[in-house]
């Protein structure tokens, strides 16, 4: 799994592809694959002690389970439904782009995704870091940010920093708002500060959470608080996923 990368990827797509991407729909797509099951993976508290299901990994990425939410075809169908309902090609494309980015990012961990479901339940997993979601949010945060997962997040944040001008209100009103009917609609309902908040929040959270989690994992948390940038790390984490 990826953490802040899911918050940041849509902004880079908007920066690189321009007006063919609707940022709100791309963000919705980026969040969508985890929307229905991630809470159950982690349990009901921060420590992961209050379990909801016996096999969170199977539920989240497998079959039986809702692993189909991490396949390519499923989101093509959802994007087709968005297109049919909205008649807006930009919205459908943007949602699909965000969802596929999420799915492909999640191939980097040890569990991976059933990318070709329903034609195959084979998992594409590149094993750059260990999947530790079954241990709860706290241990997963430690594992992710002390392993190459955190580096993956930092890469997106640094790349985004080079595009900081896209977050100015001038760019927002000149380049973003006129090209997406979502913002034109929101402009009739909300103040300028609310619109900018909606536009910036995911990027702000993504970058701030990377810094916050690193500080917490390395200096405040007292469990496995050292970096382990070995492939498939951290070494202390139990192996999860297909062989």
């Amino acid at each position: 799994m990826s953490w802040a990368a899911h918050d940041l990827e849509p902004y880079l797509f908007r920066a690189k592809l321009g007006g063919i991407v609707s940022l709100p729909l791309c963000l919705a797509g980026s969040y969508a694959p985890d929307f229905f099951s991630k809470w159950a993976v982690y349990g009901l508290d921060f420590t992961g002690d209050r379990k909801v299901v016996d096999d969170p990994v199977e539920l989240h990425r497998g079959f039986p389970g809702v692993g189909f939410t991490h396949s390519l075809l499923f989101w093509v169908l959802v994007a087709a439904a968005i297109l049919a309902l909205s008649r807006n090609r930009m919205w459908a494309f943007s949602f699909l782009l965000g969802a596929w980015a999420h799915v492909l990012s999640d191939t980097l961990d040890s569990v991976g995704v059933m990318i070709f479901f329903p034609f195959s339940t084979w998992h594409l997993h590149l094993d750059l870091w260990q999947y530790v979601g079954q241990a709860g949010r706290r241990d997963d945060a430690v594992a992710y940010y002390t392993s190459l997962g955190g580096v993956w997040d930092v890469l997106w944040a640094v790349w985004l920093a080079f595009h900081w001008r896209m977050f100015t209100s001038e760019h927002f009103h000149r380049e973003i708002v006129p090209r997406d009917t979502f913002w034109l609609w929101l402009r009739t309902k909300a103040s300028d500060a609310v619109m900018l908040t909606v536009f910036r929040a995911s990027a702000f959270f993504g970058v701030a959470s990377i810094i916050g989690w690193y500080v917490w994992a390395l200096f405040i948390n007292d469990f496995q608080n050292s970096l382990d940038w070995t492939l498939g790390g951290p070494e202390w984490a139990p192996r999860q996923g297909p062989p």
Partner: protein, 75 residues
Amino acid sequence: MRFPGVPRPLATTPATRDRLAVAYWTAALLAYAILGAFFPPFFLLGFWESLPFVLVVTWLAGRLLGRSARDPGPG
């Protein structure tokens, strides 16, 4: 010519305004990150938790850096 009662903008040149905006948002990011580092369950579990904070700093940026609703600026 300046009219009486019209406040002078805090930052008068685009370069200065850019630098102020970058410094302002960097400070806001670090403030949120530090809050998150000490209280991760309240600040670091989902982007929606940052919405009140981002709304406040966005509103404040408009006041400090001279942005208005339909008059784009660096805030």
